[in-house]
Symmetry: C2
Subunit: 550 residues, 2 copies
């Protein structure tokens, strides 16, 4: 083939995308920038990088090799950050153990991940004592503590974290290896069944870090992270990599603050004393933080905050804006490492009007660079981004879990036709912003249209006299499914409420173009109470079981 | 191995890093943003993406397949941008032909790249007619023109660009393929020998784009590119991918302006009428642009400009700053795709003092994310980033050419011990900024120290009475090499200048700690004139040939 160029680049001088590569520019350009752990410790990047070398040397001495999984049970700390790097950089896999699960679930995830070494904050020693017997694969325990003398209970530890680091060499030579090697694993809990394990490779996490940095940097005025920012997580590092920001912040060379267990008073103090400008949390924490700030009369102006985990209510967004918090929603999931979207506000939309801005800031947002995010209908055909048409959100991105560990069935359901299913139903506007309208399993497919149960519930709830409303789909010969509403009357104002009144109420929204006429339930039943899940959501599985046959 | 997690991620749902992936978010989030070509054409991103599909369909109809190389001869245009995407996205290789080379060199590069299809701006038809016989592998010519009727001379064209696009389908289905497939090739001219071809894969260019976006976004106040910017290249698209910014700007979804052939009046007009805020060029163009702006009394405030290609003189930087241009240097090379460093000024250093800022803005800069940039001594040991120790700059990065096409010897010299040699000698400060001090072949190795010939030349030139000074290394039994200076006296002020005076002058700099005592040449010769290369630099090869035996 003399007429052709060699078509594929040789890999003689290849550069694998490994987590260790995130350090090159930071060590050179920001060696003296600091990482803060509460009021307990401060390290420069140079020192932290040395500690990462020491941690790897210590783990190696304890017999950890590239085939092992090392779990961490800790609140957000410099130690956790050190493990975020050292464990994958030596070729092992980091399990970020969700310490908020029940002891039984924690034992399940540790055993299921085949984890053999645990780094344990001594706060969790009593809990760990209770499940030690269920962890036959654990061969090494390392204790970590903020106390002078760690509590060890009846457990046998191979050493104390700081002791081990002191005795180990900082000069661990982190090798090159296949960028597709696994780096991390953690577990996600659904509404049913045991926790499911997701996992991510070095390549995926490096690309996630780089794209997150690019995405946050592209914002002109609102929603950016730059070299002058100070980062602090308030989404736990054991949950979906804390948005991947510990890596992205390190790659960016910014000051970082780790707050330990989330105590609103400590968080507020760190925000003020360390000058934190960028963080992320769930709505509940935001609420607690705002209450604490109001009580302490703390001004939060200049604090950028990404909200994820569950929907950011508009009222909460307005409340945060009023206190100076530059709040905006994000969209991501455990299966996506997690970054997918951020609701950065474009410069032209920074009107200063809280109502208008809250409308944008509470959307799921704009997709991150390289994320191929589409909406598809039930036949898996793409639907247009017209701000009206609903579809299930499906994805391709360079950082999606390839499946659930040891769960072929769930993995098969996760990926369809080369795209990962999110299970969420959304609308994309002509401006590119995604809004989430429902979970796919709660959407009602009727007459070829998708009706959002959440939207109908929301509209019903707005009617005086309604305390709560749940909407489910029931089978229908002609339409496939039809919505059925279950309404709890308000004791004071709703005693005489009728289904005819509620249908008339909804009809108003049909005429206003808010919902389609298919959205009006044929049947509205009044009930005394609605069954809820452990996190306070309607238990629709149970409702469908009770009422689903129509 | 029941105790181990599966260690490598399966590639069942892999996401190859392909140039087509740069379009996902832009098409969704900025479909109506515009790409401007002079005062000739305007397209939205949606339209441009359609034209990319049409171009691929048209090329396919003309027999282009994934094994072919397609060359472009054009000034900066939307057409060139379309080819930047369409050609690699269909799996073919894009050759960006350097139209500033001599016709013989152009013929050499086209033939050497095995290019079979050429897209030709009709301005180059007369030149192409002259070399057509030297291009036996070219089987298809397509003409492009800004005129109503393109000039075709005696050449046979398969069609006119706009005609072909009109007749082709926008719905080309760009396939997935191996991300290591070649995407581009272009040629670099050195001081000797024929042009050398470098080449880059999809993976390399996607990573280059993402890292460039992240790097530009990380800057807090100075030297950033964000969603509100308007981009225009003034480094040709045929030269080192115009810093890769056409891809990065597209990935960022910003407005883009393509100025055609560089005419200072047109450039100034586009900057003002289209609101250009971000560009890049070589010092010579900056000089011409500043002169034109001064003559036309045009205010350039707010224009960010990266300077590359050759060193940005401090005086020119100050002049640009005085006219409102936010100028800063970059460092890159053809072999590195090209981005390596940018001299972004940290917020704390934005003093407003032109002298102090010019000192930072003229450095080679800070390395981009993931770039592993080191200095090594003659024994290839790393030297410290202490702001004093010189070393040859060597690199690992995810976007370095793997070698020169069909030139094994030069390729072998390029890569040593897993690192790419730049041939440049630099100093890295404790703040992470790189400064270039010399070319490795011009550095004088004496008594175990490296003396920068450029620095000694600069110091000699500062002495009254010196018109020009060149310094080379000559062999020395005891010291390895010793510097020898060749000085041209200034006709007016330097008639009585002696070598003793010049040595005393240099001794002052030794005492001030600016240079080491080894930097004072043993021999200073006065000559009538110094030999120069075609680009006006001292011809040191010739000087070494004449004087090198000492």
């Amino acid at each position: 083939m003399t007429g052709k160029l060699m078509q594929v680049v040789s890999s003689a001088h290849s550069y694998p995308l490994l987590i260790k590569q995130l350090w090159h520019t930071t060590l050179q350009q920001a060696p003296d920038q600091v990482i803060v752990y509460r009021d307990i410790a401060r390290f420069t990047y140079r020192e932290l990088r040395e500690r990462i070398g020491r941690l790897a040397s210590a783990l190696e001495r304890l017999g950890v090799d590239a085939g092992d999984t090392v779990g961490v049970l800790d609140w957000d700390s410099n130690r956790f950050l050190e493990a975020y790097f050292a464990v994958p950089m030596m070729g092992a896999v980091l399990q970020t153990v969700n310490v908020r699960l029940s002891p039984e679930q924690i034992a399940y995830t540790i055993d299921h991940a085949n984890t053999s070494v645990l780094l344990v904050n001594d706060e969790f020693v009593p809990m760990l004592e209770g499940i030690r017997q269920q962890l036959p694969k654990i061969r090494t325990l390392i204790v970590m503590s903020d106390r002078t003398v760690p509590q060890t209970g009846g457990l046998t530890f191979a050493g104390e974290y700081e002791d081990l680091l002191r005795g180990a060499s900082p000069g661990y030579d982190f090798p090159d290896f296949d960028e597709n090697r696994l780096a991390t694993t953690f577990y996600t809990t659904g509404t049913s069944g045991p926790p499911k394990g997701v996992s991510f490779s070095h390549r995926q996490l490096v690309l996630h870090s780089l794209a997150e940095m690019a995405f946050l940097g592209a914002a002109a005025k609102q929603g950016r992270l730059c070299r002058d920012d100070v980062y602090m997580p308030i989404t736990p590092m054991f949950h979906a990599h804390a948005w991947g920001l510990p890596w992205t912040a390190t790659l960016s060379g910014v000051k970082q603050v780790y707050p330990g267990r989330y105590d609103p008073a400590v968080l507020l103090k760190l925000i003020k004393t360390e000058g934190v400008t960028f963080t992320h949390c769930v709505p509940t924490i935001l609420q607690r933080l705002l209450a604490a700030a109001a009580a302490a009369d703390t001004d939060l102006t200049g604090l950028k905050m990404v909200i994820g985990g569950s929907e950011l209510p508009k009222a909460l967004a307005r409340q945060a804006l009023a206190l100076g918090v530059d709040v905006f929603a994000g969209y991501g999931m455990s299966e996506s490492a997690p970054l997918l979207c951020l609701s950065q506000v474009r410069s032209a939309d920074l009107s200063g009007d809280p109502e208008a801005e809250a409308e944008i800031r509470t959307r799921a947002g704009l997709a991150a660079p390289l994320v191929d995010l589409r909406l598809v209908d039930a036949g898996r055909n793409e639907v247009p981004p017209d701000g009206k048409t609903q579809g299930e959100i499906v994805l391709r991105a360079p950082w999606l879990t390839q499946g659930y560990i040891g769960n072929a069935d769930a993995s098969d359901e996760l990926w369809v036709g080369g795209y990962m299913r999110t299970g969420d139903v959304g609308i994309i506007g002509p401006d590119g912003y995604l809004r989430i309208v429902d979970r796919i399993k709660d959407v009602i497919k009727t007459g070829g249209e998708w009706v959002s149960s959440l939207q109908i519930e929301d509209l019903l709830s707005q009617r005086e006299g309604v305390s709560e409303a749940a909407v489910i789909g029931v089978k229908d010969e002609q339409w496939g499914e039809r919505p059925l509403a279950l309404v709890v009357r308000d004791e004071r104002t709703g005693r005489d409420l009728t289904d005819t009144q509620l249908k008339a109420h909804l009809k108003g929204f049909v005429e206003a173009g808010v919902i389609s006429k298919y959205g009006i339930p044929d049947t509205i039943l009044f009930v005394e109470a609605l069954p809820k899940t452990s996190v306070g959501k309607f238990n629709k599985n149970e409702l469908r079981h009770q009422y689903g046959s129509g």
